[in-house]
């Protein structure tokens, strides 16, 4: 079993943490996901996909606020990994964040897990 490594992001992305668990790259976000931070999520995902990581977990459990710009960056991430045959799982328990998915009917498109352990237990399709 691979317990992965935990790395601090560069200072610019100081509120993102990256780890590798099983065959999933886990991006743990904290703080608020809006126009201020969404572009960084976008860049990060583009970087991961470019370096061949197409199975991502975005851990939103540390995110206390997300608006539609934040949601948009997650939609973009899903499209990007899928177009490379990969997948995106979300970890989210915060009601206020889940509600944004629901209000936009996008809770039906995304797969939610209650914690990272559960997400990275999902077998990677190859």
């Amino acid at each position: 079993m691979d317990f992965g490594h935990l790395a601090d992001w560069s200072s610019v992305l100081s509120d993102f943490r990256r780890s590798v668990r099983n065959q999933w790259v886990v991006l743990a976000l904290t703080g608020e996901l809006d126009l201020g931070s969404a572009p960084r999520l976008h860049q990060t995902v583009v970087g991961e996909v470019a370096s061949g990581h197409h199975h991502l977990v975005i851990d939103l459990s540390g995110v206390d606020f997300m608006d539609s710009t934040g949601l948009g960056s997650i939609i973009g991430a899903l499209r990007r990994v899928r177009s490379h045959g990969g997948d995106l799982l979300l970890v989210c328990t915060e009601q206020r964040v889940l509600r944004v998915f629901e209000m936009c009917d996008l809770d039906r498109i995304f797969v939610f897990h209650v914690d990272v352990d559960s997400a990275v237990g999902t077998p990677v399709r190859v």
């Binding site: 809006d34 126009l35 608006d67 539609s68 209000m103 936009c104 039906r108 498109i109």
Partner: protein, 141 residues
């Protein structure tokens, strides 16, 4: 207790959080508003302010964006105003069905409908010299 709070911020994303805090604080002064409704209002204001900032950014405007909270005994009204180029709120494109694979092509276009969802009343007044969005939440609902 009632009062008007007005905030002018640069059209830069790093000020969004401040806008949400001020609106949250202003709304909480009206002790009648439930925390969930304050959260909804904060989100609606975040959507409107994001649009206002983007409108300034796209037009290269240096002007600040204005957020005005007007709290009365029965409701809070937050007006977000910009001096961008305006838009026609009645002819926004509708999004493809969630089940369509095309849906994922649309990372944006959710803000205005969310505002309507989240508030009791959302009034958009847009002209070619600016837009004012009024977000209204009644107390006691």
């Amino acid at each position: 207790m009632a009062g008007i709070v007005e905030l002018h911020v640069p059209a830069l994303p790093e000020y969004l959080q401040m806008v949400r805090s001020v609106v949250g604080a202003a709304a909480s002064t009206g002790a009648n508003l439930k925390p969930e409704r304050v959260a909804d209002l904060r989100l609606a204001v975040s959507e409107a302010t994001t649009n206002a900032m983007e409108a300034h950014g796209l037009s290269g405007l240096e002007d600040r964006v204005t957020v005005r909270c007007d709290l009365s005994a029965s409701r809070i009204e937050v007006e977000v105003a910009d001096c961008g180029p305006g838009f026609d709120p009645n002819s926004l494109p509708s999004l493809p069905d969630v089940n369509s694979p095309d849906r994922l092509r649309h990372e944006s276009g959710l803000g205005v409908s969310l505002m309507h969802h989240l508030t009791d009343e959302t009034i958009v007044e847009s002209h070619d010299d600016g837009t004012a969005v009024r977000l209204i939440v009644h107390f006691g609902d």
